[in-house]
């Protein structure tokens, strides 16, 4: 691992530790803890990347604000992200999350779904703290930003599930980018950056550049995530080839549907018409081999690199006029990290 990558991961861990500590405070309640707090804290106590709170706290610092004032917002992001993960794992019937069994494997589907709901309520409580900390006006603005983000995320998730349910195979890379803008980027990068900037005192009319930077960064992140699902090593922590088994319309699958021979395309279509439980490991492996053979993974990596280049340009647009600081350097270094990370 390079020194820069180690430094970024160490910084992510520090931001994550602070945000998770704050998030766990919101789990305190009147119940005895066993039925809700214990499963709700499960994922929070597993080491994740903590990218979302890190982006929020770093953006706040880079724009000259006090990151402590962004802490409830960072905690809300981590809680909401955790809720999405719990529900995603149920929807995808995934086995592993951060190297350990998923919540529904550990506690059952009913507890997992209720825990996800609970985490959303905790996130709203964290956001509500902004009223006393930041004032009514800014708290209202942040609540609006969260609501817009939540809409995008659930619409994106619905789109992905709909594509799978309807067996869509006529998708293009543009459709994929549209999906990940909604499903991933808004809550992973765009909102955290905008929220951090607002808390630091940036005016709303200064936020457009952060949408561009956030999307390019988030798209590079998601494409790398999809590639790692095919080629990830022992640090990856999720089920390798799980995306193929679930029939996810990744950039690699979209490319393969175009590049495959007519015979291979027919086999792929038959594979995608099966329910996830009917897709056997040899079938999944065959699709992965086709992706290797037809250059679908290399295509996705180059496509992602092009977007990462745009992110570097957009970073200058968003942060160019801001004085140098460790937070600004951290955000700048996230761009190459997103394309090269191995977990």
């Amino acid at each position: 691992m390079t020194t820069t990558r180690r430094a970024i991961e160490s910084r992510l861990e520090e931001y994550g530790r602070r945000a998770r500590h704050k998030a766990l405070v919101y789990l305190d309640g009147d119940d005895d803890g066993e039925y809700l707090r214990t499963p709700a804290s499960d994922y929070l106590l597993r080491p994740g990347k903590a990218l979302r709170p890190a982006m929020c706290l770093a953006a706040c610092g880079a724009f000259g604000g006090d990151p402590d004032r962004a802490m409830p917002t960072a905690a809300a992001l981590e809680l909401l992200h955790t809720a999405f993960l719990v529900h995603d794992d149920v929807e995808d019937d995934s086995d592993l999350r951060r190297g350990l069994p998923t919540l529904h494997r550990r506690y059952g589907r009913a507890v997992a779904i209720n825990t996800g709901d609970g985490l959303i309520v905790y996130a709203m409580a964290a956001l509500d703290d902004n009223r006393s900390l930041l004032g009514r006006r800014l708290a209202a603005r942040l609540a609006g930003e969260f609501q817009f983000m939540a809409r995008q995320t659930v619409e994106g998730q619905a789109m992905e599930l709909g594509w799978q349910r309807r067996g869509r195979i006529d998708l293009t890379p543009d459709d994929y980018l549209d999906l990940i803008m909604k499903k991933t980027c808004w809550y992973t990068t765009v909102l955290p950056l905008r929220a951090g900037a607002l808390i630091a005192g940036r005016r709303p009319d200064q936020l457009a550049a952060l949408v561009r930077f956030g999307f390019f960064l988030g798209a590079a992140f998601q494409i790398r995530d999809d590639v790692l699902n095919l080629v990830g090593g022992e640090r990856y922590g999720k089920e390798i080839l799980g995306d193929i088994r679930e029939g996810k319309r990744t950039l690699m699958l979209i490319h393969l549907l175009t590049a495959a021979s007519p015979g291979e395309r027919r086999r792929l279509q038959r594979f995608l018409r099966l329910a996830p439980g009917e897709r056997t490991p040899p079938m999944v492996e065959e699709v992965a081999q086709m992706m290797h053979r037809h250059g679908s993974i290399a295509f996705a990596e180059e496509f992602g690199r092009g977007i990462a280049r745009s992110a570097q340009v957009a970073f200058e647009e968003a942060f160019g006029a801001v004085p140098d600081s460790p937070e600004k350097r951290f955000i700048a270094e996230l761009v190459p990290y997103m394309v090269e990370r191995d977990r």
Partner: protein
């Protein structure tokens, strides 16, 4: 540069252009949504209401999704010409008094290219448009003989509005199908 470098560069450019198109739409969308967030219109206690949260987040799932501006030309086989229209709607005062158009090469997922020289837009220059009016622009692609089958993608650029390209897609089918 080797052919592999060329291909990698083209795919990177494809990614960058596609992403630029998506983000332009969403930047406008969030500005519109946030314009309604004012002190008077928003009380933060709303976030404590599960009912409001559910209505606002789940409701849009049942609304039709708007499609991006995109032109899909009729599928053809190599050696044939495909043509279609895109419509420019009154963009307000034209920058420099006119609107110029150009079209990028069309690139497939495998890196095959239909060059700009095989593509045409007509008219290339729009000198004026009536307020509230619209202008048809014809787009034609003469697919060279021997062109590989597959989906090809590219852009029509409004030179005076470079951040609003229009995506173009064309499927070249295998001969004999």
């Amino acid at each position: 540069m080797t052919p592999a470098d060329d291909l990698a560069r083209d795919v990177q450019m494809y990614g960058a252009l596609s992403a630029a198109s998506v983000v332009a739409r969403y930047a406008a969308k969030v500005d519109t949504a946030m314009a309604s967030v004012t002190d008077d219109a928003w009380d933060p206690t709303v976030i404590a209401s599960m009912a409001v949260f559910a209505r606002e987040t789940i409701g849009p799932l049942f609304e039709p999704r708007s499609r991006p501006e995109r032109v899909v030309l009729p599928a053809v086989i190599a050696g044939e010409t495909s043509a279609g229209s895109l419509w420019l709607h009154d963009p307000g005062p034209l920058p420099g008094g006119r609107l110029e158009l150009s079209v990028s090469p069309l690139v497939s997922g495998r890196g095959d290219v239909i060059p700009s020289s095989a593509l045409s837009v007509s008219p290339r220059v729009v000198e004026s448009m009536a307020a509230g009016g619209r202008q048809e622009v014809r787009l034609a692609a003469a697919v060279p003989f021997g062109q590989a089958a597959g989906w090809y993608h590219g852009w029509v650029f409004l030179i005076t509005a470079p951040d609003e390209p229009v995506a173009v897609a064309l499927r070249v089918e295998e001969a004999g199908r």
